[in-house]
């Protein structure tokens, strides 16, 4: 079970890192989502994997470590909110900068051109 679990977390992290390193905000946000899934699973496993063990005392013969589960819950909530914010910011950047490149590339050149055009206009 540990091996499959580790492979799953590893594959998701790989995918997440690959997407985060892409140049466009949509891919980056997807990558961050994938990365946060992987992180949540990883945190969950940090208290050791156990089968047939509830996180509540007296519910089953042995019990699982409840702390990682509490941590994962917090991490999921925070990760969710952050991803939502990143999406909204990506949309805002898309409309402000005119494209969804993380550096807003082409527009910076446009803007510089525009600025110098303005100054030329003033000098005349």
């Amino acid at each position: 079970m540990e091996t499959i679990y580790a492979i799953c977390v590893g594959a998701m992290t790989t995918g997440g890192v690959f997407l985060v390193l892409r140049g466009y905000t949509f891919a980056v946000v997807l990558g961050l989502t994938l990365l946060s899934y992987a992180v949540n699973l990883f945190l969950f496993a940090s208290g050791n994997l156990k089968i047939d063990a509830a996180a509540i005392l007296g519910e089953s013969e042995s019990y699982a470590d409840p702390l990682p589960q509490a941590l994962v819950l917090t991490a999921i909530v925070i990760g969710f909110a952050m991803t939502a914010f990143a999406l909204i910011l990506a949309l805002r950047a898309r409309s402000d900068l005119g494209n969804d490149h993380v550096d807003g590339k082409t527009v910076i050149y446009d803007e510089l051109g525009q600025n110098s055009a303005n100054q030329r206009g003033e000098n005349q």
Partner: protein, 502 residues
């Protein structure tokens, strides 16, 4: 006095409640009421912080368990001289930045005041927290507020720098959680005091795990503290954002530094057995290069705010170098330098904001342009802030630098050159900037071309609050160094079992 027992929680509770209340109908649409309420909240925070500092100097470390849950499992807040000194610093800075914002910057976007309060809550919580997971939670709170504050006022440049800042920090948060998972797997606890106690007794299997967890956390804190390969976001983010927000952010890099102290100096410090001092060997070259790169960046700055942001990176590099030296004396000097550099660079950012307002189209770029409308006042302000940042007597920068140099005589060959050269670079750049802005002016008939913009009294008070703190840090230098010494001692104490620490 039952209420006073819970005082440790107040620096988190006051901004939380105030931020929430400001969203209610009575305040929501009335910016004047919001301003008054937040100024009162900031003053309250300052009073509480000073009281906590006095308490911690008297009684030493106190651990406050939320809801009285038992120690390694419950949420712990810790008040000791280091935490409360940082609280006083954050509340002074918060007060000044907020006063500046009340002059009109707060009207340029929605929800400035509630966000400001949540930001204060996150910063104060990060200083007070006693376990690493809540450090993560408070980091996220302050980051969430800062994400929104950073685009306050809008504009293309702000959106663009915010995209970088947010995406980087989201990736950083993932690393933080992975690091936490590894550390929990190795230690079986996330309480800092408990971890410090257990570090020396870890099994051999867990030592490599704990090491990799600690290194991951160093990456995360390094990202916040602008450590070399992770600092490229800083200058743009700080220089493009609204002036009061940038001034408040002057403490954000210091939150990273503080976390390195709490985790890497205290937990993985001299007493950690096989895990002892695993970070300094990595920090040495990186901190050194951070400082050198920041000095180059200062010399290459094209605008006042960019220069101030790069000076923040310089101070971050200096502090990281002091962490790498890793002696109690150097840490005490670094705490003094941290307070000084936060206040001085925030003051320079606010002054740059005032200059931007008064120079019309040239803004804060270092080019020949029309004169500012209040050259005498702004010139004096700029001169004082510059003296402090360069490290010339009689201001706190000089004292801080001398203390750092004295504390690092053993490593003088490595530490002194970048420290002294950073002072020289600041001198060159600040005098160039000052003479460009105040003396290389064109026309001189700015009065008839455009209406004169004058600094709002609240803005002047905000700058004065920060500038007055600088000579005060010298006048009360004896008392202050005693406090920083006490604060540094905390980090080098031999860890005790958690039951005794309570």
């Amino acid at each position: 006095m039952s209420l006073l027992q819970h005082m440790v929680f107040f620096p988190v509770l006051i901004p939380l409640l105030m931020g929430t209340v400001l969203l209610l109908p009575f305040f929501h649409k009335y910016i004047r009421r919001q301003r008054v309420a937040v100024i009162i909240a900031n003053l309250l925070l300052l009073v509480v912080a000073v009281k906590l500092l006095a308490d911690s100097l008297q009684t030493g470390t106190t651990m406050y368990m939320m809801g009285d849950w038992q120690a390694p499992f419950g949420i712990a807040l810790v008040n000791d001289p280091l935490a409360s000194v940082m609280l006083v610093l954050s509340s002074v800075l918060g007060l000044a930045a907020h006063l500046y914002a009340c002059a009109g910057d707060d009207k340029r976007g929605m929800f400035f005041h509630p966000l400001f309060m949540f930001q204060m809550m996150g910063i104060n919580g990060a200083f007070l927290t006693g376990d690493v997971f809540n450090l993560f939670v408070f980091f996220e709170i302050l980051l969430m507020a800062s994400y929104a504050l950073i685009i306050h006022g809008g504009g293309k440049q702000r959106t663009q720098s915010a995209v970088h800042y947010v995406l980087l920090n989201l990736a950083g948060s993932s690393f933080f959680l992975i690091g936490l998972g590894i550390i929990y797997a190795a230690f079986g606890t996330l309480n800092l005091a408990d971890m410090a106690h257990k570090a020396a007794q870890l099994d051999e299997d867990n030592i490599q795990l704990a090491k990799s967890g600690a290194m991951l956390l160093l990456i995360v804190f390094g990202l916040k503290a602008a450590l070399l390969p992770l600092h490229f976001w800083l200058p743009r983010t700080y220089s493009y954002t609204a002036t009061p927000v940038a001034a408040l952010f002057a403490i954000m890099t210091k939150v990273g530094i503080y976390s390195i102290w709490r985790v890497h100096t205290a937990v993985f410090g001299n007493h950690a057995g096989d895990l002892a001092n695993i970070t300094p060997e990595w920090l040495w070259p990186l901190a050194w290069l951070t400082l050198v790169m920041a000095v180059v960046a200062v010399l290459a700055s094209q605008s006042l705010k960019m220069m101030a942001s790069n000076l923040i990176a310089v101070s971050a590099g200096t502090l990281l170098l002091a962490i790498a030296v890793n002696t109690e004396q150097a840490t005490a000097a670094a705490i003094y330098y941290l307070i000084h550099s936060t206040l001085a660079s925030a003051a320079l950012l606010l002054i740059a904001g005032l200059i931007t307002d008064q120079r019309g189209q040239a803004q804060d770029r270092l080019v020949k342009a029309r004169a500012v409308s209040q050259p005498a006042m702004l010139g004096i302000f700029f001169f004082i802030a510059a003296l402090a940042l360069i490290g010339m007597p009689p201001l706190s920068g000089f004292v801080g630098k001398v203390m750092l140099l004295q504390a690092t005589t053993a490593d003088a060959g490595w530490v002194w050159p970048p420290l002294l050269i950073s002072g020289l670079a600041a001198l060159v750049m600040l005098s160039r900037a000052g003479s460009t802005v105040f003396w290389r002016t064109s026309g001189g008939n700015s009065s008839n071309t455009a209406e004169k913009v004058r600094a709002h009294p609240l803005q002047v008070i905000a700058v004065l609050v920060l500038l007055l703190a600088l000579p005060l840090m010298v006048i009360f230098g004896g008392a202050l160094t005693e406090i920083t010494q006490r604060a540094a001692e905390i980090l080098y104490l031999a860890p005790q079992p958690l039951a005794e620490a309570l």
